[in-house]
């Protein structure tokens, strides 16, 4: 916040003390200002700092501009005289605003809401979609992988294929592979899990960011014969060794191997997101380096200057074709995208819809302000008329009116930027954590500049209409009638129609998201999530496969008997937490055609009691049992989706399947399907069940990390404590991490939908209120203007009810027109947010109907109140006044 204030003060200084001759003055003032704000913040907190900022602005204006100057005497001081006029206009505008505190407050608040929302959302859009990535020449960086799935996603590839690409392709300056993952860091206090990047080649070389201390690792460090090395993030090195530079030359223990710390990255460096705290070369053993069946690497490359994505893709595809011929692999073609694209693809639509919404709110705010100013201008018609009549220059009057709206919008803009800053803090706290540039989101110079430019455009925009209209008036008419002539009523009506139309679009968008979210809440995830505590547990490599199985059986057994716990189970990936790992799915007796790859199917490795613990229902056959592993053929279970996909209208029970690459690289010899269970929405509540095969963990003894699930009625914290205690007794070096309740897991899976629903609903609500105020304001004004007419009508015997209906009809005509335009536009625009919706069509009749009803009711009310006032006119008083 101090930095924001300092930036704002600096901008103010540039405005008030421009020119190169004042550079040193400005710098010294900013330095002093920063110290003073820090003082104020220490003694009075944030309000103190803001109050000091306000005092500085006041004094700056007093000292540099508002003290009057002597009249200019020489032509050289002409510009000074322009300035003097400007100063005069500003002072006049401030005086006017002070005289009408109600109007000023409403106007500033309206603007602040509009500008604030835009500033906050734009900061996010800028950081996520626009700001250059913090890597050298980031436009040439691409992500490379397989084009395996039907959507646009880039799939991981195998080490063998990756090294083929790297050694043969000429399109890249370097190419590196990477995989993110957690490792257990031991040897200091408690063992803990830390996230980082393991890289084939050197991802740091490709990104082109030098180390802040020591060195980065290079492709030559990536050899199995070399000693393990690691590069740490600034924050992580500071946490471990006190100072980042102290880390170089030390060593840390990751997954039971000592790694020499060779370097520390700058504090600003992040890849692929802020969670990663270390980067290390993979140093694959020779057999892993040649593996063609383990898919976990994504490539990141720097295109040589002049090489296009297309050329690079074609080159890699021809390498793939050669590889397929030489080693009879079935690997798919290559897919490539810019690094930034891969970071933001999931959030782009969401952000753009929000930006559109918040811009619409600003438009409504402008329309409202223009209306307010129009109404006020009419009130000032006599003042203007007198000035014109005694020879005031039109230009001068227009300039003064524009200055007034500029001052107003500047005040609203300052309030709006402060509000935007606050809103941004809320946003950051609630954004999904897979937004990789989360830490980069802030109000910086660019965001501030855009906000100020918006303020200026807005100020001129809503100020221009009334200013020009008034200045165009003929003094004679104005002086005679004391009010403006025709034409203005139509402008106001048009503004109201526009407001209502925009509000309709926003509300329909918000309504669709609310409906989606409500439907999501009612979706059956396929499990019973309440009362389940989960955490992850992983054993190190020194546990050999049979020990792993025994250890986890022990965990299930001992934790299941903890007081207050009614059962424990393990699974490699939690339900609803993503696709998890997959394998090639082969059906015995149904061979894959030559040259084709078998389908990939995700699998879950579980303890036999998993289904009963999480409440997945049995549909056919039986669940897994403890005795299954004793049989020679392994028992597996599939879900309904998989059964319907491969055995439509047949009984899958008893069929045999093989997971993995036949013949030499299968996960286990062969499995018999013994049961079909209910579907689980593994990819999140808004995605269809992917089809899943469940395998007992005894069949896959190499598996060394699981999520443990405990069913309990007690407080999760208490159960977590006793579980942790129990694990410590079994092996004190094992960290228990990612402790969550299953309800949290479920709620996190809908967090992005919830966030955009909440924001869009807030913007929609705001739009509704503003539009209602707009309708009300305009109709009240019309009533006031037509008071005389009303009085005469009543004097001639018009019924109050008739008059009410007349005014109501007048107001509702605009509302209906706005509704019609809004609904037509919404029907077209909501299609853009199709991907954000769940269970509703973009033209959901229920949502459209509800919004039409709501807006009709609200604008009806906004019209009725002034219409009723029309009948309260006392005819005698009106006629006497004439």
């Amino acid at each position: 916040m101090n930095r924001l204030l300092s930036r704002l003060y600096s901008i103010a200084l540039h405005l008030m003390l421009p020119g190169d001759s004042c550079v040193r003055d400005r710098l010294a003032m900013i330095a002093t200002f920063e110290d003073l704000v820090a003082d104020a913040r220490r003694s009075h907190g944030l309000p103190g700092a803001v109050a000091h900022f306000a005092a500085e602005l006041r004094d700056l204006v007093i000292e540099t501009r508002l003290r009057s100057r002597p009249t200019p005497t020489t032509p050289a001081q002409e510009s000074d005289s322009m300035l003097a006029t400007f100063v005069q206009d500003v002072r006049f505008a401030l005086r006017l605003l002070r005289r009408a505190p109600g109007f000023t407050a409403v106007a500033i608040l309206t603007l602040a809401l509009g500008i604030g929302g835009n500033t906050a959302i734009f900061s996010v859009v800028y950081a996520v979609l626009l700001r250059p990535l913090p890597y050298a020449d980031a436009n040439r960086l691409v992500v490379v992988g397989g084009a395996d799935s039907d959507d646009d996603s880039i799939d991981s590839t195998s080490p063998y294929v990756f090294y083929e690409w790297r050694d043969r392709a000429r399109a890249f300056e370097p190419l590196a592979g990477f995989v993110t993952g957690q490792q257990t860091m031991s040897g200091r206090r408690e063992p803990e899990r830390v996230s980082g990047v393991t890289s084939a080649g050197s991802i740091l070389e490709v990104l082109g960011v030098p180390a802040a201390h020591g060195r980065i690792f290079t492709a030559s460090d990536d050899r199995s014969a070399r000693d393990p090395v690691v590069v740490l993030s600034d924050a992580f090195a500071t946490r471990l060794f006190g100072r980042p530079e102290a880390a170089v030359g030390q060593s840390i223990r990751l997954n039971d191997r000592d790694h020499a710390v060779v370097g520390v990255m700058p504090a600003s460096f992040r890849f692929p997101d802020g969670d990663s705290v270390f980067w290390r070369p993979a140093q694959f053993e020779p057999d892993m380096r040649l593996s063609r069946t383990e898919y976990f690497l994504l490539g990141v490359g720097r295109l040589k200057p002049g090489v296009t994505e297309r050329q690079a893709t074609e080159e890699l595809n021809s390498i793939m074709a050669a590889t397929r011929r030489s080693v009879a692999s079935t690997d798919p073609d290559v897919r490539m995208t810019r690094l930034r694209e891969s970071f933001v693809s999931g959030v782009r639509t969401r952000l753009l819809v929000l930006l559109g919404a918040v811009a619409a709110v600003l438009l409504i705010a402008c329309a409202n302000l223009a209306n307010l100013l129009l109404a006020r201008a009419t009130g000032r018609a006599r003042e203007i008329a007198v000035r014109l009549a005694i020879g005031g220059a039109q230009r001068r009057i227009v300039r003064q009116l524009l200055t007034e709206s500029a001052v107003l919008s500047l005040l609203g803009g300052i309030a709006g930027i402060a509000l935007g800053w606050a809103l941004l803090q809320v946003l950051i706290a609630n954004l999904p954590s897979d937004v990789s540039v989360l830490e980069e989101i802030r109000i910086d110079r660019i965001v501030l500049a855009v906000a100020l430019a918006t303020v200026l455009v807005v100020g001129l925009g809503f100020g221009a209409a009334p200013a020009f209209q008034l200045a165009r008036e003929r003094p004679g008419t104005l002086l005679r009638t004391g009010r403006g002539v025709s034409g203005r009523g139509r402008a106001r009506a048009a503004l109201v129609v526009a407001e209502i139309a925009i509000a309709v679009v926003l509300l329909i968008g918000a309504g669709l998201l609310v409906r989606s979210f409500a439907l999501l809440q009612r979706v059956d995830p396929g499990i019973r999530g309440d009362g389940i505590l989960t955490f992850r547990l992983q054993v190190p490599q020194r546990y050999k496969p049979p020990e792993r199985v025994r250890f986890f059986e022990d965990v299930v057994d001992r934790l299941g008997r903890l007081p207050g716990v009614s059962g424990a189970a393990i699974v490699n990936t939690l339900p609803v937490d993503g696709r998890g790992i997959g394998a090639w799915f082969n059906i015995v007796g149904r061979p894959t055609p030559p040259g084709r790859q078998p389908d990939g199917v995700p699998y879950r490795v579980i303890s036999p009691n998993y289904f009963t613990l999480v409440g997945i229902p049995l549909i056919r056959g039986r669940f897994l049992s403890e005795r299954d592993s004793l049989a020679s053929i392994q028992a597996v279970v599939i879900d309904r989706t998989l059964a319907n996909r491969y055995w439509p209208n047949q009984d899958p029970i008893g069929r045999e399947v093989i997971l993995g690459a036949i013949p030499d690289n299968t996960l286990f010899p062969r499995g018999t399907i013994v049961g079909v269970v209910g579907d689980v929405r593994q990819l999140g509540l808004d995605s269809d069940p992917p089809g899943m095969i469940y395998v007992p963990h005894r069949v896959m003894p190499f598996w060394n990390g699981f999520a443990v699930m405990l069913r309990t009625k007690l407080q999760p914290e208490a159960v977590a404590r006793s579980a942790r205690e129990q694990i410590r007794r079994m092996d004190p070096t094992l960290p228990v991490y990612n402790v969550r309740t299953m309800e949290q897991v479920l709620s996190e899976s809908v967090a992005p939908t919830r966030m955009s629903m909440f924001l869009l609903a807030a913007f929609g609500g705001l739009a509704l209120i503003m539009a209602a105020v707009g309708v009300y304001g305009v109709l009240s004004y019309t009533v006031m203007e037509r008071q005389r007419e009303m009085g005469i009508r009543m004097a001639l015997g018009a019924e109050p009810a008739g008059l009410r209906a007349l005014m109501l009809k007048h107001g509702m005509r605009q509302a209906v027109l706005g509704l019609a335009i809004g609904i037509t536009s919404a029907a077209g625009l909501t299609r853009l947010m199709q991907t954000l919706l769940f269970g509703v069509t973009p033209t959901d009749p229920l949502t459209f109907g509800a919004v039409i009803g709501l807006l009709t009711a609200v604008s009806g009310l906004a019209c009725y109140i002034p219409a009723r006032r029309a009948t309260k006119v006392d005819p005698a008083a009106v006629l006497r006044a004439d």
Binding site: D25, A28, L36, E56, L57, E63, P70, A76, D80
Partner: protein, 148 residues
């Protein structure tokens, strides 16, 4: 406002900045022309009597001596400093070696400034003496210095 000498001097100094010819010479060779001083200006001169200070240090010193009664903003301070520099009461000096913030600027009282501060103090002293004569304030105990 026109009667405020410091202020009218500020106007001419500002004009000088805009004017093509540089006539921002110290027109006030007589220190008495600067009197009376505004409270902030007097306090700034007092702060600089015995050492060179940078902007924030001046504000902090004034706050401390006056118990927060006089609290300047950076905007006011620098406007005053500019006026005092233009009028030749202060000069800018190099930062001492220990200062790490290159943006800071240090100021020193010139002979004229010291004389103006002394004259202002004497003027204030005469004013309080009048107040004492009218028993608005208690009489000071006679001290050896006063006797002479």
């Amino acid at each position: 406002m026109g009667s405020d000498p410091i202020f009218s001097e500020y106007v001419s100094a500002t004009q000088a900045r805009f004017a093509p010819s540089n006539y921002a010479v110290t027109r006030y060779s007589d220190p008495r022309d600067h009197l009376p001083l505004t409270a902030p200006v007097f306090q700034i001169l007092l702060s600089l009597i015995d050492r060179d200070l940078h902007g924030y240090a001046i504000i902090a010193d004034i706050r401390e001596r006056t118990g927060d009664e006089v609290s300047l903003t950076a905007s006011t301070l620098y406007a005053a400093l500019r006026r005092l520099l233009d009028a030749g009461l202060l000069e800018e000096v190099d930062a001492p070696d220990g200062d790490t913030d290159p943006r800071r600027r240090y100021y020193r009282l010139r002979k004229l400034g010291r004389e103006v501060a002394r004259l202002e103090a004497a003027r204030l002293d005469r004013l309080t003496a009048m107040a004492r004569d009218k028993h608005l304030l208690p009489r000071l105990l006679p001290s050896p210095a006063r006797k002479s």
